[in-house]
């Protein structure tokens, strides 16, 4: 199978959906000729024109609000938010308007929009361009949240997101745009709420999101060489969350580590760990561990930044302790 980058995969997904459905359009800063700073959208304006690949002023709340209104009246906007960190700027439009409109109108109005943005540290971009804020929006009922972990996932999830009648937020990992993966030529979609079991194992389950899926994969390889059989699962979407698959794996291996790049406290790792604890408690042979980003603003210095995120080595170390029956956080 051919291999393309995550960036190309997103580009293909958008182009295919825009060809299929003329109500789909892209709106955001420097999305047209510039094709975004990450060049993800390069070439789209040539095919679809500036009417459907709409450059905006630097006014995130404004174009987000316009997208909400456009979505409510018969179009399918794909909003391009240059950095995930800017999500704070559009919170009212996203969380008070887009997320609640369907509910507040008793099901009469809907907001079929996609918010494309990114996450991920270790790009030396410091505290305002490095955050992974997906937990923030996953907290809000009415929004769906997808976290692609490869080029293949990015394309399939984007196409599903565009066809979804609800507001969907997709976070791409900005360090993965140039990562290649096999992506079929023929069309495919990846349904929301169906986790992907990347590797089967019997001793421990590693649940990873976005780029942390790769971290878990590498950790599983190291553990395998030590005779520890690790299962690796990518939930793909955290809202909706495929609890069944995660719980089944937890019941099978009886040990789980959840790895996510958002801040560890009050985050995705805690939510998933808590659900496993509630629903698979009597199958657990060890506490479910959370591994998120350190609870500090992302530092600039490489010497500091690199230690804030989970690594294959840190995952392996925790996995060993669980499998060997070490007392974790014993009083």
């Amino acid at each position: 199978m051919r291999e393309i980058t995550l960036s190309q995969a997103v580009n293909e997904a958008l182009a295919e959906e825009m060809r299929r459905d003329e109500t789909v359009f892209i709106i955001g800063e420097d999305v047209a000729e510039a094709g975004t700073p990450f060049k993800v959208l390069s070439g789209l304006v040539e095919e679809f024109g500036t009417a459907r690949v709409v450059d905006t002023p630097i006014a995130e709340p404004g174009f987000m609000g316009i997208a909400v209104g456009a979505a409510m009246t018969g179009t399918r906007p794909v909003v391009d938010l240059m950095f995930g960190d800017f999500i704070y700027l559009i919170m009212d439009q996203l969380c008070n308007q887009a997320a609640k409109t369907h509910y507040m109108s008793g099901g009469k109005l809907s907001v079929p929009l996609v918010l494309r943005t990114n996450l991920g540290a270790t790009r030396r971009s410091a505290a305002q361009h490095s955050q992974s804020l997906h937990a923030l929006v996953a907290h809000i009922p009415g929004l769906k949240v997808a976290l692609p972990s490869s080029a293949y996932e990015a394309k399939g999830l984007m196409k599903t997101a565009i066809r979804d009648d609800n507001p969907v937020v997709i976070f791409e990992d900005k360090l993965m745009y140039q990562d290649k993966a096999p992506v079929p030529e023929e069309e495919y979609l990846i349904p929301f709420g169906e986790a992907n079991v990347l590797r089967e194992g019997s001793d421990i389950t590693l649940i990873g999101t976005s780029s942390m899926v790769q971290v878990c994969q590498k950790a599983a390889e190291i553990l395998g060489s030590e005779g520890i059989s690790a299962e690796v699962i990518d939930p793909r979407t955290i809202v909706p969350l495929d609890e069944e698959t995660l719980l089944a794996s937890a019941r099978k291996t009886s040990r789980v580590i959840v790895v996510d790049e958002g801040h560890q406290s009050f985050g995705v790792t805690g939510e998933i760990a808590s659900r496993i604890n509630e629903k698979a408690f009597y199958h657990l042979d060890a506490p479910v561990l959370r591994m998120g980003a350190m609870d500090v603003p992302v530092p600039f210095s490489p010497a500091l930044e690199d230690i804030t995120v989970p690594t294959p080595e840190s995952v392996v170390e925790n996995a060993r302790r669980l499998v060997h029956g070490e007392m974790i956080h014993a009083a």
Binding site: G69, T73, D92, Q93, L109, G193
Partner: protein, 339 residues
């Protein structure tokens, strides 16, 4: 009253304008009573006094044209064609309300008549209205969207962002600022520097000021602007000088500290849009006093019947609580999670 002369062919339109204004007043009088007598939950804001704004504008719109509304939104909703029964049911949180009781006074939406909904965030719908106009342009439709907001909302930054884009892209949107002189409990001159009209003009947007108590003047201006917006000459800005008879919300009754009783009395007695239009109708021979009284009585009966119906109507079943969170999930919490 504006110098407009009644044209024979417009008789029905004039009577309909009067009826719509009288309906808004009747709706609000009943809503006020429901709230004060603790039969209505929540918080509500009365539109009484501003009727000519909503009616003058909405009478210039088609059903397919869109509006966005505000926390003081009952008037917009009635003017755009909503029914009393579904509105009162919504105010009382009943299943037959426009939003099945999930929105309430501050979130009534009536998409069948192009009302994209009231918004409890001041200025929160400015993006939505502009986006609705964007849809019309993208899809090549000639719909026009009117964005209602108050003078208080002109302090929100969102407005300037979306006006900028609407002007750049020539979107068919009319920003209608209902300047009732008060931003919640504060006089507008204390919160607005310079001229509000000049702010829109700074974006190159054609702007107008009109007497918001004169339904004919409002309607005549809106007719012109809507026609031009349909041809791609938008956006436009209109500042409508008007007045709210009640406080910011029902319950804000001792408001001497921000405005005087004399001022209120003056607006109510000398500038009431309904009284003024009524005398004009009689003067022009469009209707006589008895006919108008009969119309008022009929509206009062309609309102009372709708209130009685809503009071007796059924609340939504508790199983509705997790419905309509997502379009494709019947019960969002059925599996302990959205699926």
């Amino acid at each position: 009253m504006s110098r407009a002369k009644a044209k024979k062919s417009n008789v029905d339109d004039y009577l309909r304008m009067y009826r719509q204004m009288a309906r808004i007043r009747a709706f609000e009088d009943n809503a006020n009573q429901l709230y004060l007598s603790a039969k209505m939950p929540g918080l509500t804001h009365m539109y009484s006094g501003e009727e000519a704004v909503a009616v003058g504008i909405c009478e210039a719109l088609r059903v397919t044209d869109k509006i966005t509304s505000t926390h003081r939104g009952h008037g917009h909703c009635v003017a755009k064609g909503a029914e009393f029964k579904e509105m009162f049911c919504e105010l009382l949180g009943k299943e037959e309300g426009y939003c099945r009781g999930k929105g309430g006074s501050m979130h009534i939406a009536d998409q069948s008549n192009g009302n994209l909904g009231a918004n409890a965030i001041v200025g929160g719908s400015m993006g939505i209205a502009t986006g609705s106009a964007f849809t019309a342009k993208l899809l090549g439709k000639d719909d026009v969207t009117v964005c209602f907001f108050g003078d208080g909302a002109t302090a929100q930054g969102l407005w300037y962002e979306v006006m900028n884009m609407a002007a750049l892209w020539k979107l068919p949107v009319i920003y209608a600022c209902e300047n009732n002189g008060y931003s919640e409990y504060t006089r507008t001159d204390e919160i607005a520097a310079g001229s509000i009209v000049a702010r829109a003009e700074a974006f190159g947007i054609e702007s107008h000021q009109v007497d918001g108590q004169d339904v004919l003047a409002v309607n005549a201006l809106t007719e012109k602007l809507v026609a031009r917006a349909r041809k791609g000459e938008g956006p436009f800005f209109v500042e409508l000088k008007t007045y709210r008879y009640h406080g910011h919300h029902v319950g804000d009754i001792n408001r001497d500290y921000y405005r005087s009783k004399d001022e209120e009395k003056d607006w109510k007695e000398n500038r009431d849009p309904i009284i003024r239009f009524r005398s004009w109708l009689v003067e022009q021979g469009i209707a006589n006093e008895a006919e108008i009284d009969a119309m008022n009585a009929e509206i009062a009966d309609d309102a009372k019947a709708a209130v009685d119906y809503a009071l007796a109507a059924k609340y939504p079943d508790s199983t509705e609580v997790d419905m309509h969170v997502y379009t494709d999930v019947k019960h969002a919490l059925a599996r302990g999670d959205a699926r």
